[in-house]
Amino acid sequence: MSAKVSLRSNLHKIAPATLALLLHAIGASAEERPWSAHRPSITWTTDWFAYLDESTLGGGDQHLVRSDLQFLFEGVVGDHFNYSIVPQLRIDSGDHSESGFAFLEDGKRRPVATFREASLGWSSNAFELSIGKQIFNWGVADAWSPIDDLNPWDYLDVPTAERIGVPAISIYHLSEKFEIQGVWQPFFTPSRIPLPGIDSRWFPDPEGFSAPAMAFSQFTFQGRDLPATQLENSQFGLRLSSSVLLDGWDLGAVYYRGHQSAGVFKASPAGSAINAVLEYPRYQEFGLSFATVFGPWQVHGEGSYHDTDEEEMDDDYIEYIIGINRSFPDPPIPFVDEATMVIEYAGQEVTRAKSSDSPYFGSRQFLRPFADALVGSLTLSFSDDTELNLSASHDFADGGSYYGTDFSHKFSDHVKCSIACDFFAGPGNSFFGKWGKNDRLSVSLTVNM
């Protein structure tokens, strides 16, 4: 809590100072000067959220201010070496951040200072090696990816969920027909979820945790049981892909072995109460993906089989998503230059359910958001600088829905402003229903240089 108070009290001092620095830099960047690839680029984003519901778990107010400053240093040295380093500073007026620096982001909250990425790479004609904190994305879908296991996620604010960088060694090889990439992660980094004491306006409903028949709020949270850092707990992924095996198709096969990053709760009686500990089941996953084009339609899909080692900890299941994208230049809509549409269907089949008396619960809360869902978005571009994005999702399995709009405008190459709203609906035991107190309006200002 002290970190929270300290951040709040200093936010008003930090933000104007940062703003002054950035505005000065913008003025400087407007001057004619040679551009250098080694010059860092800087992105500063400040979001202001106004929640429509006054309820919060932590008793906070109805507003949240969040500020994020990122520096990007990247380039190539000589013929074979490259680097990508992204120092990041972030604060918020709530309690999503905690003071201090952390390279390995395994805390419950976001570190104020970290390296979002920091990696060195070496490449030759057929090989590439990169070492350091990295972010990977092997998925081809838009809404979410069943084969995307390499990075944990920050779910403290679900509409703006983001990948967390992990220390990893990646080896890539290109052959005539295939590309193969292996990634080894020696350290476990959990996803950040709204654990008790973190005010994310996330309200788990007792019915959502069917195994222990009592409200989640009645549990005494005993902490996280993170896998120990040892060789047998390390994680690795392998991807074989090809864009030439079948003309016009991107095909991929993925294998992953590691720990579920969001974890599952284990309930155990403690006198008249029940204790809950967050554990991280080990599993393996086999996945496939494709993407191709039929005329103006882009079609993509991916699916995976998730096999949990310890059967009582979680189900085994198949997840999949299939979707289409299309762009409409000059659509018959006034003032619209281009419309881009994405529609996806995401499904899930449980192949082996854990036993009904299992003490573990909660794996669907973050790991499996879509069981039978339609997800879509429509982006209307009025110009290169102004666009409106509409997005929606509905899960027929649990009745949960999400609706969002985002109107953004670039005042220049350096300044962008957006106004957005997010609405959640559904029963209290649905994935989005639990986020129902997050209905909100938000304003975001992004400065780049």
Binding site: A37, I42, G75, N82, S123, R163, D247, V293, Q298, D413
Partner: protein, 267 residues
């Protein structure tokens, strides 16, 4: 198309007399390709965007790598943006396919770290707010167009053929944003110095001109300054070459999805 290699190297035109001349439009285009296309090329281009009042409103710096694929001689091209910061790292990769097939295109967005295959219908869209369309970035597809010599002229003291290119294949007719392009090609060096683009309804949409021509290797020329002006909005994009490397081998892995993700080289 107004390919970058012919755009940077664009060149400008001349107008003129009736055709005849004993050479066909296709022969001119083939000779043009033989002379100016190289196996490997890397170029750094600054794009300055001007509004209709001729005020510079934005600029972008992009890097393009291109290579001729070994077996069929098809073009592979990768474009990455180095500046401004809001699009830095954004990449586009194009694999030319035989005319009977759609070219492969992928877009990389650094914010999501995702490479997405994209459909060809976006070809006529504007390229990151410039006055160029995505299809202007493709290499000239000789098999997908008819080329007719429709005249001659003199531009900046240089005699030019006027070659009219019209889509030939059903795919090109459907996907291209142009009903025809009129190319002005210098007779002495077979270099395109001006292109007039006519929209699908047959009206002149935009004009591209190339200046500051330089001989870069053998019989190959390039332009160090090109201007693309769209007539209706009155906006223009000026492309200024900052650096160019020809014939230095570029790794094949550069033209893969992994290569699209890789950081770009410093200068």
């Amino acid at each position: 198309m107004l390919s970058l290699s012919s755009l940077t190297p664009l060149a400008v035109l001349a107008l003129l007399a009736p055709a005849a001349l004993g050479i066909t439009g296709l022969e001119i285009m083939e000779e043009r390709e033989r002379r100016h296309e190289r196996s490997f090329e890397e170029s750094w281009v600054e794009m300055r965007l001007f509004d209709k009042k001729d005020r510079q409103r934005k600029s972008r710096v992009m890097v393009t790598w291109s290579m001729k694929e070994k077996t069929a001689g098809l073009d592979r091209r990768l474009i990455k943006f180095a500046a401004p910061a809001d699009i830095r790292g954004t990449g586009l990769m194009l694999w030319e396919q035989p005319s009977s097939k759609e070219d492969d295109q992928w877009l990389y967005l650094p914010a999501s770290k995702q490479v997405k295959r994209i459909a060809g219908s976006g070809k006529r869209n504007q390229f990151v707010g410039t006055d160029l369309a995505y299809e202007d970035l493709r290499p000239e597809n000789l098999a997908a167009h008819d080329y007719a010599v429709t005249g001659e002229t003199v531009l900046d003291g240089a005699r030019c053929w006027i070659v009219t290119a019209t889509p030939k294949t059903a795919r090109e007719k459907k996907n291209s944003g142009y009903s025809k392009r009129v190319l002005y090609i210098r007779q002495d060096i077979y270099f395109t110095v001006k292109v007039e683009y006519y929209g699908r309804r047959g009206k002149l949409d935009k004009v591209a001109t190339a200046e500051k021509l330089v001989k870069v290797a053998g019989r190959a020329w390039r332009s160090n300054l090109a201007t693309v002006k769209r007539l209706k909005p009155g906006t223009k994009t000026v492309l200024i070459h900052q650096k160019r490397t020809l014939d230095r081998k570029i790794e094949a892995s550069r033209f893969t999805q992994q290569g699209l993700r890789r950081p770009m080289a410093g200068r």
